[in-house]
Amino acid sequence: MLELGTFIVLSVVVLVSAVLVITRRNAVHSAIWLIVTLFAVSGIYLLQHAEFLFAVQIILYVGGIMVLFLFVVMLVDIDVALKQARFARQWHVALLTAVLLLAQVGYALYNHGQGLNLPARPMVNAPAHNTQAVGMALYQNYMLPVEIASVLLLVAMVGAVIMAKRKLE
């Protein structure tokens, strides 16, 4: 009961702050509401006993990516943007399309009132130590993807430096 209550509170925080992210006029406010969303999502991870993902979410997303975002918002954002229209001209059509998408996904998932049609749960126990299990999976089964991800990060870093440079020689 307590668990369900926590879930509902966290979901409401996630959805409301996500709506605030996309409706605020000032990009700094949007970034701060995005931080609230990310914290609430990390709470949902903790509720599902995914402790490693919870830590990664806070350290990487809130501590890394959002600081980068705020930095660039404050570098780039101009006062002119505060006076201009927030939404593009096509916003009616875009809203309708997105709501139709949600209705389709919801209908497909809801499956005539029977809920999700998931296959049966495997009869194994959940790994007792989440962080240990994730670490084992990362460095044994997913060794090659980890290496590829590290190369991807290196490429992204070099690309960002090249693009933000004043002039290409």
């Binding site: 879930f7 959805l15 996500a18 992210v21 996309i22 949007s30 970034a31 995005l34 999502v41 949902i44 599902q48 006993h49 995914a50 993902l53 990664v56 997303y61 890394g64 990516i65 980068l68 975002f69 660039v72 918002v73 780039v76 954002d77 101009i78 943007a81 201009q84 927030r86 939404f87 593009a88 916003w91 809203l95 997105a98 998408l101 949600l102 996904v105 919801g106 998932l109 809920g115 998931l118 749960r121 495997p122 126990n125 959940a126 790994p127 989440n130 994730v134 999976a137 089964n141 991800a149 991807l152 990060l153 490429v155 992204a156 690309g159 960002a160 430096v161 090249i162 693009m163 933000a164």
Partner: protein, 100 residues
């Protein structure tokens, strides 16, 4: 024990909000933030289903998604800085160099 459906519905709701943000906003920075919302919705689904099947594979993929989000944020923000330096705007409507 919360049913897995609830997590999936939360994920679809967050995904839709992100899609609305990408399609309707004019500020490129907020479009990038909406992409972060979409990636978070994907992560919620991956995490919920990985706990349902009692395996950590979904969580490993969520970590890869977070890695991609970091790379995307770095490259995207570098692009925005280069764009702002050349065109003095962060408005998606004004970036129409390849349109004719």
């Amino acid at each position: 024990m919360i049913p897995t459906e609830y997590y999936i519905f939360l994920g679809s709701g967050l995904f839709t909000i992100g899609v609305i943000g990408v399609l309707t906003r004019r500020n490129v920075l907020i479009i990038l933030m909406s992409i972060e919302l979409i990636l978070n919705a994907v992560n919620i689904n991956l995490m919920a289903l990985s706990q349902y099947f009692r395996s950590v594979d979904g969580q490993v993929f969520a970590i890869f998604v977070i890695t991609d989000a970091a790379a995307e944020a770095a490259v995207g923000l570098g692009l925005i800085i280069a764009l702002f330096r050349n065109k003095e705007t962060v408005n998606a409507d004004d970036i129409d160099l390849l349109k004719w």
